[in-house]
């Protein structure tokens, strides 16, 4: 790997000899709606939130411009926040790992062994359960995993356990199962999009040349779908840092994750305190992304030949 900056642009046979400023502008124009949208409706309001996070709330729950860093200091002074963030990262890592492994298998199956029409139908079948209501699905999981739930009843009628087990829900296992359930379809969609156009004759060719299937998989397939794997990991891991409903519904009293602790402030109209906590999470993830940017790098795998 050289250290050059990769821009993803390669010399193309069709080039415009001289690019004026207007040509450059036209090239960037499609970027504008997204930039405006995020600029106006995300970054500006977020800037306001940042300022609020340096202010405080009075007893009347009004945000008052008293500059201070207490809201941030709170995070580091209270061990519970740091520990809960660490726990959330571990939970997110575990869920991301299982989602990636599982969805890679499923996406590979759909892309390689199923005709495109049926594969796309299968994707719809995978995603449609999610077009109802998050809350209702989590209620259903409570009914499945609970003490008097379906799983316990089945296990008991099979004679595998005598007493209903309290192991499946209202603890971290419950949160793990339901979060995996919630994010798996996203990972599958992303990886399928990566794998669909993969030229599988490359794998056969590699094996023809003596590579074992696993070697071919590792050195031919995985590098080419790396952008997809990274995107899938981001789609699962980062939203989990903001998950509060699942942990509070199936995680029990000891299962709260970092977003629950943020949520408690906003529920009570304590905006500065909540904003500071939320922004610390953002800072944390941004640092993670910068540290690992080498692995996230945008590059054109084909262009390297």
């Amino acid at each position: 790997m050289t250290a050059e900056v990769v821009t993803g642009v390669e010399p193309a046979p069709v080039t415009v000899a001289s690019r004026g400023r207007s040509a450059r502008l036209r090239e960037l124009a499609p970027f504008l709606p997204a930039a405006l949208l995020l600029g106006i409706l995300f970054f500006v309001p977020l800037g306001v939130m940042f300022i609020f996070s340096l202010w405080t709330t009075n007893a009347n729950l009004d945000i008052v411009p008293v500059w201070n860093l207490d809201n941030y200091a709170q995070f580091f002074q209270t061990g519970a926040y740091v520990r809960t963030l660490a726990k959330t990262v571990v939970m997110g890592g575990a869920v991301t790992t299982i989602c990636l492994v599982f969805s890679l298998a499923v996406a590979y199956f759909l892309a390689r062994y199923v005709s495109r029409r049926w594969a796309r139908l299968a994707l719809l079948v995978i995603i449609v359960p999610f077009w109802s209501s998050y809350l209702l699905r989590v209620y259903s999981w409570q009914a499945i995993l609970g003490e008097k739930g379906a799983l316990n009843q089945v296990l008991m009628s099979l004679g595998l356990i005598k007493e209903p087990s309290l192991l499946f829900v209202y603890n971290d296992i419950g949160t793990f199962i339901v979060l995996t359930y919630v994010y798996l379809p996203f990972a599958i969609l992303v990886l399928y999009a990566s794998l669909e156009r993969f030229d599988y004759t490359q794998l056969t060719a590699a094996q023809d040349l003596g590579a074992s299937p696993s070697r071919a998989f590792r050195y031919i397939l995985l590098p080419q779908i790396r952008p997809g794997l990274i995107t899938a990991a981001i789609f699962v891991f980062i939203p989990i840092l903001g998950e509060f409903l699942t942990p509070s519904m199936v995680g029990g009293a000891s299962g709260l994750l970092i977003a629950n602790l943020i949520q408690t402030f906003f529920k009570n109209a304590l905006v500065p305190q909540g904003a500071a906590l939320g922004l610390l999470i953002v800072a944390f993830v941004t640092v993670l992304l910068i540290v690992f940017r080498k692995y996230l790098r945008v590059e054109d795998v084909y262009a390297r030949g």
């Binding site: 069709v14 415009v16 090239e27 729950l61 509070s248 009293a253 000891s254 109209a269």
Partner: protein, 374 residues
């Protein structure tokens, strides 16, 4: 690839323009609907009401709309703090909002968001228990701050088959015997307030630092006993029905809800250390464009017949005395009495009323500290 990208972008732009146009058109339609509904003279039209779902019955609203041409456009309310935060931003987009006890003077009125009114000017107010027209904290020089509606103390319910010794206080929630058998609402500031009451503090929303330290000990004992936090009131009921929970906290009437759900006969009590509770009412938003409709609307919607129907539908006591007589006439006095309908003067003093306190921030920090990862 410039040429390719240019063409591409032009195509995209056309598509985008189309989509934006469609959205704008949709917005126009929505706007038109608002105008059609929102205009009109002072005594008829539509007003915007942010309220809890138990404050109205759709068929009643339909009838009022038909009889008087006063239509209601409802934004649903979830919690006091959330409603208050929203009203502070949207102001005149709402004409009326519902709120609990101390939220009314300490948040809404203090901020000048609402308009007090002369409650005796409303004919229907004679149907109220007289004390409900005279809550001292709802009185101001400009009039009464809200039209009183319903109330409830927070109670403890238990399954006598599992919980022995006829508990009467908050301490039972901390008993190690009931590890993982307690379900409480997913409301951190309330959970802290319960424990403050358990510790014997009279102002659970205004705790001193010393008191907070004591409450922390209570919360730490409570934590292992909590099975889960109830997202909705029915979550606690469902946990009791299935037998997963032995002890729950909640509003009046849960013994009926558990029984209706096919669960065991449970018992409920107001904890002896005193409890927290709420009583709510309807406020008039100062900047509301259609606020003139609120009083004529209240005259209709607060009539005893309608309130009695509401009681039977939602099951908690209300402040309309005449409705109690109607319920008695209908042979429903038993039910009304079980819900303490006529017992407000005795029960209200045992409750610390919900409201924004001076220690909210610290209470939340404390909750996070205890219930965060250990």
């Amino acid at each position: 690839m410039t040429v390719l990208d240019q063409t591409h972008s032009r195509r995209r732009f056309l598509q985008l323009t189309g989509a934006v146009g469609a959205t704008a058109a949709l917005g126009g339609v929505l706007q038109a609907c608002n105008v059609i509904g929102g205009g009109g003279a002072a005594t008829t039209g539509t007003f915007n009401w942010m309220t809890w779902s138990d404050h109205y019955i759709q068929s009643q609203l339909d009838k009022i709309a038909k009889d008087t041409n006063i239509n209601t456009s409802i934004s649903e309310l979830a919690g006091n703090a959330e409603g208050y935060a929203k009203l502070k931003e949207v102001k005149g987009q709402l004409d009326s909002i519902s709120g609990d006890a101390m939220w009314v003077p300490n948040a809404y009125a203090k901020d000048g968001l609402i308009e007090p009114f002369d409650i005796n000017e409303l004919k229907v107010s004679t149907q109220l228990y007289s004390f409900a027209r005279e809550f001292p904290y709802w009185q101001s020089s400009d009039g009464y701050m809200a039209y009183p509606f319903g109330w409830s103390p927070i109670m403890i319910y238990y399954d006598p088959a599992k919980v022995t010794g006829n508990p009467t206080d908050w301490q039972v929630l901390l008993d190690p015997k009931y590890k993982g058998r307690v379900v409480v609402e997913n409301q951190p500031e309330e959970i802290v307030a319960y424990m403050a009451r358990a510790a014997g503090f009279d102002k659970p929303y205004d705790l001193t630092d010393d008191q907070l330290t004591t409450v922390k000990g209570y919360l730490e004992k409570l934590k292992p006993n909590v099975l889960k936090f109830a997202q909705q009131a029915t979550d606690s009921v469902a946990a009791m029905v299935s037998g997963e929970a032995w002890l729950i906290t909640g509003n009046l009437g849960n013994e009926d809800r558990v029984k209706d759900g096919g669960g065991p006969e449970i018992k409920g009590y107001v904890p002896s250390e005193g409890t927290v509770g709420w009583h709510d009412g309807e406020m008039i938003v100062k900047e509301g464009a259609n606020k003139a409709l609120i009083k004529p609307f209240l005259e209709q919607s607060q009539q005893a017949e309608l309130i009695a129907e509401n009681f039977l539908a939602n099951g908690r006591p209300l402040f309309n005395e005449k409705a109690y007589k109607i319920l008695t006439d209908q042979g429903k006095q038993d039910q009304a009495d079980r819900y303490l309908y006529s017992k407000a003067p005795e029960v209200l003093p045992t409750m610390v009323l919900k409201g924004p306190g001076t220690s909210t921030d610290k209470s939340i920090q404390l909750f996070n500290e205890v219930f965060g990862a250990g």
